[in-house]
């Protein structure tokens, strides 16, 4: 949805708005043998107890075009890789 520049928490003071697209959702259907092995090893407690490698996670696999805006002090900024274009379990 539309977000105001100040909401982003990147330190900009701007009244402009942008569309922020993000990725979310479960990734339980492991996609690679790596994920299956990891899942089985973790479930069978074959891994060192303090070591818990990350499972597949729903993350951006491509980002939206760059975004430019003018801040409240009339300075331009361009932010890159700020919003998701495609998502995937990676």
């Amino acid at each position: 949805g539309a977000r105001r520049g100040k909401d982003l928490g990147l330190g900009y003071r701007s009244s402009e708005e942008m569309i922020f697209r993000y990725c979310s959702g479960p990734c339980r259907k492991s996609q690679t043998n790596y994920d299956k092995i990891l899942y089985n090893l973790a479930n069978n407690r074959k891994l060192p107890p303090k070591d818990t490698p990350s499972q597949a996670c729903c993350r951006p696999t491509a980002f939206d075009d760059d975004l430019s805006f003018l801040d409240d002090n009339l300075v331009y900024h361009t932010v890159r890789k700020h919003s998701a274009r495609k998502c995937g379990c990676v």
Partner: protein, 218 residues
Amino acid sequence: AVVRKNDCLNAAKACNLNDTCKKYRSAYISPCTSRVSTAEVCNKRKCHKALRQFFDKVPPKHSYGMLFCSCPPNDQTACSERRRQTIVPVCSYEEKQRPNCLELQASCKTNYICRSRLADFFVNCQPESRSLSGCLKENYADCLLAYSGLIGTVMTPNYLRSPKISVSPYCDCSNSGNSKDDCDKFAEFFTENTCLRNAIQAFGNGTDVGMWQPMSPV
């Protein structure tokens, strides 16, 4: 506090919520704000090219929305300054020295794009005091198209810091010698042009909406 409406800010918001406008806006702001060396604030050639693309590719609803947004007459900051910043003047407009306008015109005529766009501007924004619109060719859309076409050439015009709408390329008429009258006439076609001023105001006020159908870039 009283929150005054800021059409120029609203146009910028609308642009970034539209994928095409957002993409081409960022595509010119990046080169127009990237310092290339200690001596140069930007690559002016790249900035101009990207600005021409912006006005070629983005529907007028969005591109004109930012360029011709209307500001309250006594506003000299939030709205008007934002409108002045639309073309990133520090890169696309200002030079170390302000050349004479006739010299600038001569240099424009050596470039195919600039020559044809300047000719378009003089045809389509010709003032005519006896017509109701203020224009000889009573077509505001053609005048605004011709004016915006100059952005990204050596004749790139911008708003002056003035209480009324007044625009000019980055030049003046000092050192004109015997050509002072010619130079003043040329400069006033920008700064004191009733046809162009009416066209900009009509767009800003939304009083000329019938003419704003999508048009193909030229």
